[in-house]
Symmetry: C2
Subunit: 115 residues, 2 copies
């Protein structure tokens, strides 16, 4: 794989965009656009990392991490991303939920037990 599967744990606080989505079947052109959008996100100011997975039924969760809300709002307005959002709404996603949340505590393991 080309991406690390776990995002780093930056200094707190930072922001998470939790995007849960059920792909329609078929979702033509989705994979290529998703790769492109992921590459664009990584080049955005304030991008800290992301974690993403999807099961065989097409239920996916992508959590991207950002230094602040302004970075998230700027990313939402990137033109190529706007096109992808429109295609997602119109054809790729049977349903989705998006939540923006401020990360206040974080740890990883098995090495670290807790904070």
């Amino acid at each position: 794989m080309t991406q690390p599967r776990f995002a780093p744990l930056p200094a707190l606080p930072y922001y998470a965009v939790i995007f849960t989505n059920q792909l329609a079947d078929p979702a033509l052109g989705y994979a290529a656009m998703a790769d492109r959008i992921f590459a664009l996100a990584q080049a955005q100011p304030g991008y800290l990392g992301a974690e993403t997975t999807r099961d065989a039924s097409g239920l996916g969760i992508t959590v991207s991490y950002w230094s602040d809300e302004a970075s998230i709002l700027a990313w939402k307005q990137v033109s190529e991303h706007l096109i992808a959002q429109k295609m997602g709404i119109e054809s790729w996603y049977a349903h989705y939920a998006l939540r923006v949340a401020k990360v206040e505590r974080a740890y990883s393991g098995p090495q670290e037990r807790s904070l």
Copy 2:
């Protein structure tokens, strides 16, 4: 499936526990314990819902939603959950990251475009 795949969108703010994990191979007994722990979580005070998915490589993301931090801390200390956490650390998870975040904005679609 026995669970709704999308959690509701409760009144803001509320809390998200973002748990990203890579299962070890094999992860003996994991599925049965995960079902049991999920059922327990749903009966906890402050539980609002959860979304979970895992790909074929064993990378899973589970996001559970809670009314407040006290509910999250209480859930962390439930005895059967403590046992599961110990088994996760000692054998099931090759790696994991856990983040606690305050949800400040949320919307779903395709019906809702944005908040």
